[in-house]
Symmetry: C2
Subunit: 257 residues, 2 copies
């Protein structure tokens, strides 16, 4: 896609907690990642709006390398599961002249000792469902999701463009779905962890659930993310046909809108 | 060094929790790491004895890449601080046909949800101070250390060779020091986190404390590890002279004994 309004999203990770490759797995999919193809790292993204960058979730543990030259200005956390925050365990001990704002749901437990020993991270400015905030020229509306832990999705508005980023979730809370049907996102990024009919569906959408949400919200475009090894296997071996405006996110994919 | 008895130790990481580079630090030391020099990853090592490999601590988050071709057989944890276990957050969701034994102190809290959702990891076989164990041809004696969390050092014996691996610690408990003076390690690997006179000495040795332990235990060789950015700066700028048998460990250093 070409740049439209100056809002860019880059997928830094599109995997679930196990990701691809899985440790100790010698299947063809995992083996290919060691040749440089098809890796799925912890689900996260970088949103850039007129030079201001926001890291959405911090599950990548190589943030020091990724952002050595062009750092982000703040972090939004969807929730405190370890695969969404583990990159902060290193980042917090960074240059003491920095103070990095980390916004997320008000979850006192946090993850491990992250809130107790926060280092350069400032967790004080939590976000509330449906309470709109502005970060430079970007407006953000947090929305509650259905997960095993207090979790927020984020609806970003810049000029006439609307982007909803919704992981981790199984289905949507009724109030969130009503909001999205009115708000009409241009682009929807959505949790689609499991293969259809998976025995392990819990706390995350399977592909059919994700497509049903797509059909109800009707964004112009949807990107499926938080992909499991099981779902990757399903669609690589099953000849899956998806509607034209449904895309499968991959690590490194970037789109402008 | 050349191989002597078939026991090899490779330092996988020799840094403290912040390591080198620190996030957002543009000092010369940190900048050099992006040219490939001097990185210090989370403190950990691989011990190999006649083809049987033990991972000592799991703070490296790239274990899936490091051990794709030649996996280790078990893991010994010194303690459950996040920089010593964070690699397990990914590893646990690996190939379900595997079962990876993880031995460490009996610490019910663990780290984040690691013990609750252990995946392929088996944490059931904990180690007790001064209770000797054998893993294949290697004998292991756990010893208590002084840290902010229940922590074990490990004394490995193979044929006539003795290796003590002691991180994280400030000084040594009297019973551990008495044991080591009798046991007489050939090689000692020791926590030396802080620069001498550091304002932040707590829970870890500074360089002088480490050298005093060395003088009391008198191993043939000592390797200093768990190095902070502060200590790295101190000795790179201070023209530090160390006794002949005192070595500073670096990531990737391997020795045989």
């Amino acid at each position: 896609m070409t740049a439209k309004s100056g809002l860019t999203l880059r997928f830094l990770g599109t995997g679930d907690a196990g990701g691809i490759p899985l440790f100790g797995c010698d299947c063809e999919i995992c083996s290919n990642t060691f040749k440089g193809n098809g890796r799925r790292r912890p689900c996260s993204a970088l949103l850039t709006c007129e030079g201001h960058s926001i890291l959405i979730d911090a599950g990548r543990t190589d943030l020091v390398d990724l952002f050595h030259e062009h750092p982000f200005q703040r972090i939004l956390l969807t929730h405190y599961h370890v695969d969404h925050v583990q990159g902060l365990f290193h980042l917090r001990w960074g240059n003491k002249n920095l103070c990095m704002p980390v916004h997320g749901p008000h979850d006192e437990q946090g993850c491990a000792d992250l809130l107790k020993h926060s280092g350069i991270l400032d967790f004080s400015d939590c976000l509330e469902p449906f309470v709109s905030r502005s970060f430079d020229k970007l407006k953000v509306i947090p929305v509650p999701l259905n997960h095993s832990r207090l979790t927020l999705g984020y609806c970003f508005k810049y000029k006439q463009t609307r982007l909803a980023y919704l992981t981790d979730t199984i289905g949507l809370p009724a109030e969130t779905e009503r909001f999205l049907c009115r708000w009409k996102p241009t682009v929807l990024v959505l949790d689609s962890t499991h293969a259809p009919g998976s025995a392990s569906v819990r706390n995350h959408n399977d592909l059919h659930m994700a497509l049903h949400i797509h059909a109800r919200i009707m964004p112009e475009t949807i990107w499926l993310t938080h992909i499991s090894h099981e779902l990757e296997t399903y669609w690589l071996t099953g000849g899956l046909q998806l509607p034209e405006n449904v895309h499968i996110a991959t690590d490194g994919t970037e789109f402008c809108l």
